[in-house]
Structure formats: structure tokens, C-alpha cells
């Protein structure tokens, strides 16, 4: 018999699972922190746009230099896209949804067209879109670790300016802050996260890693510090549980579950639980204030 503890730890005695866990913990931490800023700035849409834009970069990098070309290709396109989106938004022309949607699907189509010319079309496409979490090697982990260190250091250094810009952009401008520069830096950091996650979870699933832990954490607290810590905790927890579930299902029950997608599903479940937790106390809080309201007219009636 295996104890629950074994269940959660035993899978990671295998080297490929251990590497996958390391990768997921790094990505979970990084994307959870960046996710809080994405949430505060309401940049989920832009993040999604970046993931779409990065896709052709991944494909082109792979076509030119094989596996080792993926990250440089993604990085190049992601940086260009982040700069482009910043410029677009600062001229305030990004409100045209249709044009934006066209641009995104256009980028995506370029990637698909390029990859469709290869014989291993389907498996390559799957790998680019959904990642290959279980085959990450130590180079991938190093790339993710370095990316995470750079991105988190940047956020730590300018978090107060980013906070002011997110809360009160007009006030930030009035105080003389270069808002466009702050926006560019944050967009570049988001682009870095997308690039770091490309090999492991692909361009489609990374948006879940960024958005879900932060959104769940926001449900649990109103305090920024708590939200950041909870987001990291939930992101890491989702990665861990997702890997375990995928491993257990595949090895013990012979049900093949794609690791990356299972991690995303674990995060969705965590979000649902957070939603439940957030609703319960609120309802009782509501009930309490309702009781108070009902009591007050009664007492005033008594007074008259």
C-alpha cells in the first residue's frame, strides 16, 4: 500500500519526472508573480495576443536550427511583439477588436502554414502548441531558471512604479513617470514568461499558468502581498498536482493524460475551489449585514 505521501512524492524519483517537476515549479512561481501584474493591469488579452504572436517565431526557430532554435526564435519574435503591442496601445488604436483578432489569427496561421510543410506535421504542431513537459532536459530548466531570475529581479526593482502605473496611470504621468517605458518593461517580462514556458507547456497553455493562479489568489484576498504569495502557492500546487495526476493515470491506470494539459486542469480545479471558498464567507458576511439591517429598523421602531 502506498500512503498519500508516497503518492505525491514517489513519481518524482524518476529523473524525467523530477526534471518536469523542477520546470513546473520554476514556471509556476514566475508566471504566478507576473500573473498578478497581468491581473492588476487587465492584460490577459495582451498576454494571449503575445502567445499567438510568439507561435510563428517558435516554428521558424525550429525550422532553422531544430530544437535549439525554438527559444531564440520565440525570444526574438516575443520581444518584437511586446514592443509592437506597447506602441499600438500607447497610440490607443488597439480598441479595434476585429483588427486585433485578424492580426493574431494571422500570426498563428503563418506558424501553422510553416509547420504543415514538414512530414512530422502533427506531432510538431502538438509540441509547439501544448509543449512536451515530460521531455524537458537540463538545458531547458537552466533557460527557465535564468529567465525567471531576470524577470523576477526586474519586477522586484520597479514594483512600486508598476503598482502606481497600474492603479493610477494619469497620476503616474502627472508625477512625471514614463508610463510607456513601464508598459514596455512589463510587456517584455510577460514575453519572457511566454518564451520560458514554450518548451514545457507550449504557446497555448502558458496563458493558463499566468492568469489562473493570480485570479484564484485575487478571490482569496484583498491584500497585494497575500495575493502574490497565494498566487505562487497555487501555481506551484497546480503544477505539482497536475504532474502527479498525469503520472498516476498513465502508469497505474493506463489512461494517457498529457502532462501540460493536466497541469492546466489542476489549476482550473484550484480556481473553482478558490471561487467556492470566496463565496462562502461572503454569503455569511452578507447575511450578517442583512441581519443588522433588519435589526436596526426594529430598534428604531421601538424608540418611536
Amino acid at each position: 500500500m502506498s500512503t498519500p505521501g508516497d503518492l505525491l512524492i514517489a513519481p518524482f524519483e524518476r529523473p524525467f519526472m523530477y526534471r518536469a517537476l523542477l520546470e513546473v515549479l520554476l514556471l509556476g512561481t514566475l508566471s504566478a508573480v507576473v500573473g498578478v501584474l497581468v491581473l492588476l493591469r487587465r492584460l490577459a488579452f495582451l498576454t494571449d495576443a503575445l502567445t499567438h504572436a510568439v507561435f510563428p517565431g517558435v516554428v521558424i526557430g525550429f525550422l532553422i536550427a531544430g530544437d535549439s532554435g525554438i527559444v531564440p526564435g520565440a525570444l526574438l519574435v516575443a520581444v518584437a511583439a511586446a514592443a509592437g503591442f506597447t506602441a499600438l496601445v500607447s497610440t490607443r488604436r488597439v480598441t479595434e477588436d476585429a483588427a486585433m483578432a485578424m492580426l493574431l489569427t494571422g500570426c498563428f496561421a503563418v506558424g501553422v502554414v510553416l509547420v504543415s510543410r514538414r512530414e512530422s506535421y502533427t506531432s510538431d504542431l502538438t509540441a509547439f502548441l501544448f509543449g512536451r513537459l515530460l521531455t524537458v532536459d537540463s538545458t531547458d530548466i537552466t533557460v527557465t531558471a535564468v529567465t525567471a531570475a531576470v524577470a523576477l529581479a526586474v519586477l522586484a526593482l520597479i514594483h512600486k512604479e508598476l503598482l502606481l502605473r497600474a492603479f493610477d496611470p494619469e497620476g503616474a504621468r502627472a508625477a512625471g513617470y514614463p508610463v510607456w517605458l513601464l508598459d514596455l518593461v512589463l510587456n517584455l517580462v510577460i514575453a519572457l514568461v511566454v518564451v520560458a514556458a514554450v518548451r514545457a507547456v507550449g504557446t497555448v497553455l502558458v496563458i493558463a499558468l499566468i492568469v489562473i493562479p493570480a485570479a484564484a489568489a485575487r478571490l482569496l484576498s484583498d491584500r497585494l502581498v497575500v495575493i502574490v504569495l497565494a498566487s505562487i502557492g497555487l501555481g506551484v500546487l497546480g503544477g505539482w498536482l497536475g504532474l502527479v495526476a498525469s503520472y498516476e493515470a498513465s502508469v497505474r491506470h493506463e489512461i494517457r493524460l498529457a502532462a501540460g494539459a493536466t497541469v492546466v486542469l489542476a489549476l482550473v480545479v484550484i480556481y473553482a475551489l478558490a471561487l467556492l471558498v470566496a463565496m462562502l464567507p461572503r454569503r455569511s458576511r452578507g447575511a450578517r449585514s442583512r441581519e443588522r439591517r433588519q435589526r436596526r429598523p426594529a430598534s428604531s421602531r421601538g424608540a418611536t
Binding site: 492588476l40 503598482l163 492603479f167 508625477a175 484576498s221 484583498d222 491584500r223
Partner: protein
Amino acid sequence: MDRWSIMTGNAQAPCLTAPDGPDGAPSPVAIPTTAAPVAAVATALAADAIALPDQVGAVIPDTAIPGAAIPGTAAGESGGQAGAAPAALSLEHASIAYGRVPVLHGVHGVLHPGRTLALIGPNGAGKSTLIKAVLGLVPVVDGLITVLGRPPGAARREVAYVPQADTLDPDFPISVGQVVLMGRYRGIGWIRRPGRADRAAAQAALEAVGLAHRARDRFGTLSGGQRQRVLLARAIAAQPRLLLLDEPFNGVDVVSQDALLAALSTLTAAGTAVVVSTHDLALAQLISDEVCLLSGRQITFGPPAEALTAEPLRAAYGGAALEIDGRGVVVTRV
């Protein structure tokens, strides 16, 4: 309905309210601005909570009556001061434009340290634009704006801006204390973290607006008026020499309005120059030393006794009929 009124609240404190604009769109805050200032002004007068400029109390009963306005002593005063202290804000025939679209022209006047300037005019008159130009966010295409002896953008460290509270997201997970601390950011500089002195200054600023006990609450849980006070506290924490407020009294309850006025009078007493845009003519009359009446151009710039009279008001708000009824004036537009 295109009806707006300038009405008298009580004998001591005429309450003048202006409509949002010639388009006749009803202001969402029409009711509070009509009702609240009466009580607020009355409280302020009774409690002597704010340092009243001398001429206001003396002139109020007459100011609203056309022709009765005396070219005030205040003009002479400010003229005398001009040589002594450097102006906090100097506007010299300034024209302001967004891109190629001219928004405001012919703005001319001087605001000295410790004095209050009220910007009055219908919506779209250019009040916010003038504030943005003083902040250096909108270019001056003609003439000159000088802020504390420097070009607008160069003086930002000594200028603080208070936006309207309802432009900020009430769901944003940030505490009142954190918001006020933001006023210190510019002084702290990039990368460095707030220190003990910054926290003390933020706390003192929050006390100045009477909200020290709410420091740990989330900003969005406060009432609109309290949020406006927090934003004023943020500006106070920056210790500015020039303070710019965009419609700070819109939708603000009496308690918060009194708190705002008290904090502002403390600031001006300490030498800070204040520019405040408002729809509330009675309030402008009460708190301002100078009034700048705008409507796409400057109608007039001068002491409230001169500026808030029938002729300039009619020029700013359109061709309105004017009825005089005792001490009050009712302006009706049919």
C-alpha cells in the same frame, strides 16, 4: 431640459451651482452639488474651520448682482505681491491644443504661493486641459506657462495632482495606506524602497484629512468622498508647492467636503498654492483668491468678487436669461 439655476441657499451663503454645459446633459452629481454646499458652507462659516479670505465674507451678499460688484481690493493685493514672491503659477496668454485641435486660448493670470485659484466653466471648457498643461502633459502651443519659475514639465517634483476619485478602479487590491505612500514615490526615486520617514509622512498626511484610522482598509471600500480625501492625502504626502485638484468636490458628502476644505486651508496657510477646478460657484467663492472663468477661452481671471458676476458667467455658460431675486440670482435657460 435646458434649465439650470444659480440659487441662493441662505442669506449668508449664496449657493451658486452651474450646469455641466450648454448640451444640457444632467450631471450625475447635480443633486449633491445643489444640496450639500449649503450645509457645508454654513458649517464652515459657523465653525470657522477654514481661513476665509477677508473680502469673500464682505462681498458675498452683493457679488451675484450684476453691476454691484466692486473691483475688489484683492486685485490690488495680488498686484502688490507680484514683485515680492515668485509666482507659483504664471500664465501668459497661453494657448493649449491636443494635437492640432486647439482647446483653450488666451489664458492669462498669476497665482502666488499660499493662494487658491478656482477654475470655473462648463464641461469641455478646458479646465482639465489647463491642469494637464500645467503638469506638462499637454503642450502649450502659444504663449507661456511657468510653474514655480520653470517650464511645466520641469517642476513636477514640487507639483502634486489630485485626480477625481471615481476615475480609479474600486476593485484594485490596494490599501489606503499604500495609496497615500504613493505620494512619496517620486521623492524616493526608482528602485529604492519607502523608508520610515516616508511612512511617517504618509501617516501624517492621512491624519490631515481625518482618515488615519482607515489606513489598513482597502481603498475601494471607502465612500467616494473618503477616497477623494485619501487622494488629497497622497498629494499632501508629496509636500508640493503647487497642488492641482480636478473636480475634487464632485459627488462628495458634506463631512468629506469639510475635511477636504480644512486640509486645503492648512496647506495654503503653509504657503502651498492651490488650483482647483469645480462646478460649485458658491464653493469657489468661499475658498478662492482668484477665479479663472473658462469656456474654450479665458472669459475672465480675477478675484471672485469680479469674476463670479452675471456678465462673465453669462459669457461662460451661454446666453442665459438672468433674474434677480433679492440676494440670489436665478439663471434660467429656455
